[in-house]
Amino acid sequence: MIRTLGVLLLGGVIAMAEEVPLFPPPFTLEFDPEAIWASDILLSESRVRFEHQIGDVNWDASFSYTSFDMDYRPFTEFDFFGFEEDLDEDRFGGQANLRYGLADQLTLLVGGGAYDGYPDYRRVWIANRYRQKYDHPDFPTIPGYEDPDPKGWSAYAGVRWEYLPLAGFADVKLNYAADQTAPGYEDSQDAAGNYLLLRGREHLQTKGVGVSSENVLTSWLRSLNEFSVSETSERDPRFSYQGSVNVALGPAWTLRGYGGITTEAPRFDASFFGATLEWEPLRDFFVGVTGRYYEDNGEIEDSLLTSSAAPPLRSWELGGGLRYVWQRSAIKLYVASVRTDYDPIRIGTAEFTYLYSDRNWVLAQIAYSWQF
């Protein structure tokens, strides 16, 4: 009898330990591919991330692969020798982060990363326009043109202060990034009136500082306020703010909302907001709907004749997702419809008419996590 009772108790303890481990497993492995596509563009980004908690040290490292597939189309009214092309480019990146507990309420934050490839699809399109114009296969290469080789690295250091146990956190981070860009070009003349191909700045440095504060305001409300300022070579400082709130509407309902602004002199302003409503109809099974809105007043032009600057943009997103947590594994699926709506192209940006076409996109995300 006593032996049977002991076995049952031991079995119960083991079963409970399997469901709710006393200590979280020290290792986490995640894989989160996502893709977004329109009728003429397919973009994807996949990341593998490994995280390890050992004592006061938490570190993670990730590797990412990004692909850009596009049907390039010249605007032949302005681009007489341009031709259609299938563009396939990619980018490889890596990032590592370390958190080390300096004291009970103070954590050191350091990290860095590097990438090799184009930062976004617009730069792939723009670089191809310049390649066709100044290194056309049927004409001699224009002196001054060079094949782009975009890449870069970044690093940050900061501290996290838990000024109220489990309820108030403040982060301060200093950031630095060095980028070798795919530069822009402009047709010009030298002092003697001869043709001169002007090449934009290729090497850029960005310095910034970010401050954030996370607070448990009530038993059902958690907030995060993030403010950052950064300065890139030959540009005015860029200021960004984002506020987020997570609201426990009930035992099975959660609302996550956010909103923010970005501004940079002389005249770039962006604003955005969104929310996700999540419901847990069964234990560890979640269903959610998300809506987001974004708008800006266009990138800043400082070129002489032509520019690749984007016109003002508005964008909407509406999506739905599922998440299921099973013991030490979790999986997430999310699908959304995204609309990008640009203002009419200005004459100086006419070469990039098809780049800045309005598009309907589909966004799909998958994430899998395993703790062990």
Partner: protein, 62 residues
């Protein structure tokens, strides 16, 4: 504003902590509990970005 940010936090009991410590109530770095998209940064250049500095995307445009 600053007082709310730094000292306006409620004293939260254990029952209350269970709600605000639910995984989907956290601001997590985990991909499972991330509610944004890495690719949307390409479409929307003014999104505020947490973490390290991002690659610049413009040359002649700023």
């Amino acid at each position: 504003m600053a007082s709310v940010l730094l000292t306006g936090c409620a004293s939260v009991d254990d029952q209350g902590q269970r709600a605000v410590t639910r995984p989907n109530m956290q601001f997590s770095r985990s991909a499972i509990y991330t509610y944004s998209s890495k690719l949307m940064l390409q479409l929307q250049p003014g999104l505020a970005i947490s973490g390290g500095a991002q690659p610049s995307t413009c040359a002649l445009c700023r």
